[in-house]
């Protein structure tokens, strides 16, 4: 059974310039112990997708669709009910470790607050648990360091503290939004390894959100590639890296500078810029930047589906795939 099943999720923002369609018709699920990566450029909607079912959208945002967590719809929950799930069953780590910690509170205060609230632990129990968690994320000398303030930690250590806070209540699902982009490469590698180890030990499910395909190569099992608010391709990690179908995925892979390849050739950039979400082009949203685009791309491309839940939204046929008729798309057209 899926731990989380999201169906036809849409996120819109009302702005002065009009309605921004940040997420459109997203479907995905994640099973127990599974790692799913959501990859896309800034503005692709990957963060808003997650924030929407966590009940953390900005005030001008609205969400429709379904997000079933153990068969209960997160989108229909009352704030109190959602609060019990957030932090305890689903935890989230944000991108910037510098700004997500409160600079005025010690690490101890910020960590124990969570467990005392959710698990009703006594102060000394909460502290012992927090120290244990810091040790798990390899903070040296945790009994001492827990008394310090965030500014006394390096960037990498602060991100480890964020992970420790995320793990405090032993969540079933951890959502990490660009957990390592603000960090140095050497530290990024360490954080990726740490997350991997913890996941193996705990059988926790993990959703990783990132703009960097390379960063998820070692960790993810399944990948969703998002572009301009839509999933353009989904597949296993091997599918996406070794047999990418969608021209956008192919372009994204080709534009990463790689140390294991020759540097004599020019980098393969994807030309142009992502579309403005206020004035989305008709048909395929990637067509202006796509080297394979033809006249028919002005129409909405079909969704191909193949074995193992692999999908691609493109006019190019997918090997072993069949076109699906989408219910909600048909409704929208009417």
């Amino acid at each position: 059974m899926a731990l989380l099943k999201v169906s036809n999720l849409n996120v819109h923002f009302d702005t002065r310039e009009g309605v921004v369609k940040a997420v459109n018709g997203m479907d995905f699920e994640i099973g127990e112990g599974e790692t799913l990566a959501i990859v896309g450029e800034s503005g692709a909607g990957k963060s808003q997708l997650v924030l929407s079912f966590m009940g953390l959208l900005a005030e001008n945002g609205s969400v429709s669709g379904e997000a079933l967590y153990r068969d209960k719809d997160l989108l229909q929950m009352k704030p109190k009910e959602l609060n019990r799930i957030r932090g305890r069953h689903i935890a989230m780590i944000f991108q910037d470790p510098m700004t997500s910690l409160n600079p005025f509170l010690t690490i101890e205060k910020q960590m124990t607050e969570v467990v005392r609230h959710h698990q009703g632990l006594r102060k000394d129990e909460a502290r012992a648990h927090a120290v244990e968690m810091l040790r798990a994320v390899r903070i040296p000398d945790p009994e001492e360091r827990i008394r310090q303030y965030p500014h006394e930690y390096s960037g990498g250590m602060r991100q480890r503290v964020m992970i420790a806070i995320g793990l405090l209540c032993e969540p079933e699902l951890l959502i990490a939004d660009e957990p390592s982009t603000a960090l140095d490469v050497t530290v990024q590698a360490q954080i990726a390894e740490l997350v991997n180890e913890i996941r193996k030990e705990t059988r926790m499910s993990l959703i990783l959100i990132t703009h960097d395909l390379a960063a998820v190569a070692e960790v993810a099992e399944r990948i969703i590639v998002m572009y301009a608010g839509e999933a353009v391709e989904t597949g296993s990690v091997d599918d996406i890296f070794y047999r990418p179908q969608h021209p956008y995925t192919q372009g994204l892979l080709a534009s990463v500078p790689r140390l294991d390849r020759s540097s004599d050739d020019e980098l393969q950039a994807i030309p142009g810029n992502p579309p403005n979400l206020l004035e989305l082009p008709s048909g395929c949203r990637f067509r202006d930047r796509c080297s394979e685009a033809t006249g028919q791309c002005c129409e909405r491309p079909p969704l191909w589906i193949a074995e193992g839940g692999r999908t691609s939204r493109c006019f190019l046929p997918m090997e072993g795939g069949a076109i699906v008729t989408e219910k909600h798309v048909a409704e929208e057209a009417e």
Binding site: E41, S42, S154, G155, G156, M157, D184, V185, T186, V187, Q188, A189, Q190, A192, E193, H211, D212, L213, A214, A215, A217, E218, V237, D238, F241, G251, L252, L253, S255, V256, P257, R258, L259, D260, S263, E266, L267, Q268, A269, I270, P271, N273, P274
Partner: protein, 333 residues
């Protein structure tokens, strides 16, 4: 060989801060850049790589005279920049320009693309005819790949990549001979990063610019650099030709950085993970290790590394390295 346009000798920048409150005020010295020397030839690109806190941005600012160094010299086409008065230095800046990391934050949100790009012209040539300024601005926009109708757009109406193109156009509008790019792509999406790197490479070929390209990632600088300097805690660990650095780095730290780069290939990435060895964080800049600055994280250290500071010295293949054991270690990738 041509004469170098830029010669940096033993450049050092120290920041002083105070701790301990009013009564127990103590002075602390942070050596951000600690004795950097290198030369740069016309049309050449030097990549500068290091983790955050390694002093790369401070180095860039010190070269351009935006920060006063407390030691060392910066020679620009035979003339010393480090003792110049404010006005003389300002005039020199026509020739030395910088592109900043965050393309959106470094542009004035109340100015249009055209205003931003033409501002240096108004500043340096107040008598230039309006038409000529506009012509030059439009020409520059074309060179960096902006559309003519974007001249009246504000930064918030444009994407990160487009804003970075404005930043580049603005630095090139005065026809500089040296362009310092301080992490010009790290705030951009991967697909746009490649665009900007290719653009800078094209411009350099066309205009014969000398380029200093700062990044925290070795894979990004490889495409654009002729030589690469690897910095750690304000010091140069290695300055090597691109071809040798990426095949056989001379310094263990270069090797570590190379192994930390993630590879977009699941199988290779799994293999690369086994190979990583650098652990821990950079030491506190207030508590610098004695001897070799890298010794406490280095698996190749010997007794000597804990006591003697290795000088940056030239190897047989003409690359430079600051490691006592450079000859005996084989750090081939």
């Amino acid at each position: 060989m041509t004469k170098p346009v830029l010669r940096v000798q033993d450049l050092a920048v120290t920041f002083t801060s105070f701790t301990g409150g009013l009564l127990q005020r103590r002075e602390r010295q942070l050596r951000a850049v600690d004795g950097i020397s290198f030369e740069l030839h016309p049309g050449e690109t030097l990549g500068v790589v290091g983790e955050s806190g390694s002093g790369k941005s401070t180095l860039a600012r010190a070269i351009l005279g935006l920060i006063t160094p407390d030691r060392g010299r910066v020679m620009w086409r035979g003339e010393e920049l480090t003792g110049l008065g404010e006005e003389e230095l300002r005039q020199k800046r026509k020739e030395l320009q910088i592109v900043f990391q965050d393309p959106v934050a470094s542009l004035d949100p109340r100015m249009t693309a055209g205003d931003i790009i033409s501002e240096p012209l108004w500043t340096f040539y107040p008598n230039m005819a309006r038409l000529q300024v506009e012509e030059r601005t439009r020409g520059m926009m074309k060179v960096v790949g902006l559309l003519p109708n974007q001249i009246n757009r504000y930064p918030h109406e444009l994407s990160g990549g487009q804003c970075q193109r404005i930043g580049i156009a603005r630095s090139l509008v005065l026809n500089p001979r040296l362009l310092v790019c301080d992490e010009p792509v790290s705030a951009l999406d991967v697909s746009i990063q490649a665009q900007i790197i290719n653009l800078l490479q094209d411009l350099q070929k066309k205009l014969g610019l000398a380029l200093i390209f700062i990044a925290h990632d070795l894979s990004v600088v490889r495409h654009i650099s002729d030589r690469v300097m690897v910095m750690y805690m304000g010091q140069a660990m290695e300055v090597s030709e691109k071809s040798s650095l990426y095949q056989r780095p001379l310094h263990p730290y270069t090797n570590a950085l190379m192994k930390s780069v993630s590879i977009p290939d699941p199988r290779l990435a799994a293999a690369a993970r086994q190979d990583r060895w650098l652990t821990g964080d950079m030491p506190s800049p207030y508590d610098r290790p004695k001897g070799c600055i890298f010794h406490n994280r280095c698996p190749y250290r010997v007794k000597r590394c804990e006591a003697d500071v290795p000088a940056l010295r030239r190897m047989e293949n003409r690359d430079w390295v600051a490691c006592h054991r450079a000859e005996e270690l084989d750090l081939s990738i």
